[in-house]
Amino acid sequence: MIYLTDGTKECFLTAFLYAFSDENALISSSQTQLALGQESVFVAADAAKAKKTEARLLSFDKDCMNDLFYLLRSGRNDREQIAFRYLKLLTEKKMPVREMAEDASIAANECIRKVTYEIHRMHGFVRFLESASGALYAPLSPDNDIVDLLTPHFRARLPEFPFVLHDVKRKKAAVYDGKNSFLAPLESAEIVLSADEQRWQSLWQRYYQSVNIPQRERLKQMKGYMPVRYWKHMPEFHATDPLST
C-alpha cells in the first residue's frame, strides 16, 4: 500500500502510524512515484495520531524530530520513504540508530547532509540585487525546500536591510521586513533596481575575471564546488564582457 501525504510533518506522522505494521508500505508525498498495480490511499493529517507517533519516536531518540525536519525538506521524491525506513528502524532498535551501519541510517544521513550542505552553500551563493528602495532581492532555485532556513543567517548579518529570498522554483519567498520574517507565496517579482546596481554588478564581474589565474584552469574542481545549476542567479556568470580582457 502506498500512503500519500500532503508533505507536512503531521501528515507524515499520521501515515507512519498506518504504514508501520504494513510489510509493503510506502509513504510518499509525490504521485509521480506511483507504480502500476500498487494500491494507494490519501492520508488525512490527524493531529492526535501524529502526536502519538511523535511521542513514541521521541522516547527512543530525543533528536529524531530534528532529523525528520531536514528529511522532509529534501528535494528528493522519495524523502518520505527515506524518513519512513529510518524511523521504522528506530522503533525496531528502540534506541538512536543515527550512527549505525544500517542502510536506512546511511540513506537518511546522506539525505540530511545534502540539505544542510545546501543551506551552507547558499549562505555563500545567494546574490542580492539592490532595489531602488534599498531593500535586497535574491532569486534562487535550490534543490531542497530551504529558502526560509536561510533567513536567520542573513537577518543576523544584515539586520538593517529588508530582504526577500525568492525560491523561483517553488514560487515562494522568505521575507524579512526589517523587523519580522515570514514565508509567503510569490509567483514572480518586478524589481526596480537602484541607480548604481548595474555598476556594482559590473565591478563584481570585473573582479571575478581579474582574480582568476587562467594558466591554472581546473574547471572540474570549480564545478564540483559550485555546480552549474546554481550559476543562473549569479551575476559573475552574466558578464556580457568576454572573460579575456
Binding site: E99, M100, A101, D103, I106, H120, H123, G124, F125, V126, R127, F128, L129, E130, L136, A138, F154, A156, R157, L158, P159, E160, F161, D196, R199, W200, S202, L203, W204, R206, Y207, Y208, Q209, S210, V211, N212, I213, P214, Q215, R216, E217, R218, L219, K220, Q221, M222, G224, Y225, M226, M234, E236, L243, T245
Partner: protein, 416 residues
C-alpha cells in the same frame, strides 16, 4: 566608486596570494552590517578552481621595493595605480551587502614607505569598523618595517593578519627579496602572537586578531627541499601559533637569471598541502612525513609514503584501532574515521559495512583488517604497485590529480 581599470590592476596584483579563507572569526553584529562565520564561507569559485571568499585586492601596486619574483617590483614597467581607503571601504560594503563576499583581504605594495602604506591600511580598516559599523571579516597584510604601533593598531580592528615569509630560507630571501629580511618578517609576527596572548590572558574588552595569523611561501623559486619546507611549517605552527601556512607554486611572471624559467609543478604544491594537513589534523610530525634532505614523492601522497615506510604497523583492525591510528591509514580521512568509531559501537564492522558507509577502500584495504579479514595485496611491492597504479608518467599524474572529482575536491585543502 572605484573604476574598473584600477580594480582590475589591483586585483591582478593580489591574486597570487593564496589565502582567501574567512574562517575563525565569530565577530558579532552589534548594529550595522556583517558578522563572522566561524567555519568560513565560499561565495564563488573561479575557473582555476579557487574559492572567492574575500575581496582580495591591493591598496596600491606602486612599489619602492624590488623583490625579484614580483611583477610589481620597482624595476618593473607596469601601470601604477592606487586606491584610497574610502574607495576600498565603499567597495567592500557594496560587495558585502549583495552577498558577493565574506569580507576584505587588503594587501599592498610598499607605496612610498612602509609607514605610509601601513597607515593607509589602518585607515581603511578603521573606516570600515567605526564609520560603516562593518563586522564582516577583515584580513590585513602586515607591511614589513612598518612601526610596531601601527601594526598593533591594525590588529585591534582586523580579524586576521599575515606577514608572508615569501621564501623558505634566509639565504633565498636575501637573494630574491633584498629589502626584506628574516627579522622584518618574523619579528612582527612574533610580537603580534605575544600581544594576542596577553590580550587573551587579561580578557580585555573587544577583539584582537580573533582569527590569528597566517603566512605564505613561494615554492619552486628557490632550491629548498620539501623536507626543509615541512620542518619550517611545523616550527611556524609550534612557535608562532600560526593558523595556516600557505604555499604558492612559483609562476614565472618575471625573467631573471636568479629565477627558474619554468613554473613549479602544481603537484608538488599539492603534496605540500597534504603534508600540512597531516601536521595539523592527523598528529604527524615533520620528521615522520619528510625524511631529511628529501622532497615528498610525487607518485604517492605523503600518508601512503609514510605507511609504506612503516609497514610493520599494519594491518590494523578497524574494530579496535584507536582514532590516532585510523587516521594514519592511507585513504581513511577524518570523516571516515569518525563514522567507523561511531558505527563500531553497535556492530562488528565487516568490509561490507565499510563499503556501505562509503569508506573509500581503494588504498585502505592494504592496511586494515575488518572483523579479522584482510583483502589487501600480499607483498609490500604489490601494495606499492597498487598505490602508484595509473600515476606513472608526469603527464597522467598532473591530469589525474585534478580530473576526478574526489581528488579535485580535496586539491584545495590537501585533505587526505
Amino acid at each position: 566608486m572605484i573604476d574598473e581599470q584600477r580594480l582590475k590592476l589591483l586585483t591582478e596584483g593580489a591574486k597570487y596570494d593564496v589565502s582567501c579563507s574567512s574562517s575563525g572569526s565569530k565577530r558579532k553584529n552589534t548594529g550595522g552590517m556583517g558578522n563572522g562565520y566561524a567555519a568560513g564561507c565560499c561565495h564563488s569559485f573561479t575557473p582555476d578552481g579557487r574559492c572567492i571568499s574575500l575581496l582580495k585586492i591591493l591598496m596600491s601596486n606602486d612599489c619602492v621595493y624590488n623583490c625579484k619574483y614580483c611583477p610589481n617590483r620597482l624595476d618593473a614597467d607596469v601601470p601604477r595605480v592606487s586606491a584610497t581607503p574610502e574607495e576600498v571601504a565603499e567597495l567592500t560594503i557594496d560587495f558585502y551587502k549583495r552577498n558577493y563576499i565574506e569580507g576584505l583581504f587588503l594587501s599592498s605594495a610598499v607605496e612610498k614607505s612602509p609607514n605610509y602604506t601601513m597607515e593607509k591600511l589602518v585607515r581603511t580598516v578603521k573606516l570600515l569598523r567605526t564609520q560603516y559599523r562593518f563586522h564582516g571579516y577583515i584580513h590585513l597584510k602586515g607591511i614589513p618595517r612598518a612601526d610596531e604601533a601601527l601594526i598593533h593598531e591594525a590588529a585591534k580592528y582586523a580579524d586576521r593578519m599575515s606577514y608572508n615569509i615569501e621564501l623558505p630560507s634566509e639565504r633565498s630571501l636575501k637573494l630574491l627579496a633584498p629589502q626584506k629580511s628574516k627579522e622584518s618578517l618574523l619579528l612582527p609576527m612574533k610580537k603580534l602572537a605575544e600581544d594576542r596572548a596577553v590580550f587573551r590572558e587579561e580578557k580585555r574588552k573587544g577583539l584582537f586578531l580573533p582569527a590569528g595569523q597566517t603566512t605564505q611561501m613561494i615554492i619552486g623559486a628557490s632550491p629548498e627541499k620539501d623536507s626543509q619546507i615541512v620542518r619550517l611549517t611545523q616550527s611556524l605552527y609550534r612557535s608562532m601559533g600560526l593558523k595556516r601556512v600557505y604555499y604558492s607554486s612559483y609562476v614565472p611572471v618575471v625573467h631573471d637569471s636568479l629565477l627558474p624559467d619554468l613554473p613549479a609543478g602544481q603537484l608538488r604544491e599539492h603534496r605540500l598541502y597534504q603534508a600540512d594537513w597531516l601536521l595539523r589534523f592527523y598528529g604527524f610530525t615533520a620528521e615522520e612525513i619528510a625524511p631529511e634532505n628529501e622532497n615528498l614523492p610525487l607518485d604517492l601522497d605523503p600518508k601512503c609514503a609514510w605507511a609504506l615506510r612503516n609497514m610493520q604497523l599494519f594491518p590494523v583492525e578497524v574494530n579496535h584501532a584507536p582514532l590516532e591510528l585510523l587516521l594514519r591509514v592511507p585513504g581513511i580521512g577524518g570523516r571516515s574515521a569518525q563514522k567507523i568509531l561511531q558505527a563500531r559501537k553497535y556492530t562488528n564492522l565487516t568490509f561490507e559495512h565499510l563499503q556501505k558507509m562509503r569508506v573509500v577502500l581503494k588504498r585502505a584495504r592494504h592496511f586494515i583488517t575488518a572483523n579479522g579479514k584482510f583483502y589487501g595485496a600480499k607483498s609490500e611491492t604489490a601494495v606499492r604497485g597498487y598505490l602508484t597504479a595509473g600515476e606513472n608518467s608526469e603527464n597522467s599524474r598532473q591530469l589525474s590529480l585534478f580530473s576526478d572529482t574526489e581528488t579535485a575536491l580535496s586539491a584545495l585543502t590537501g585533505e587526505l
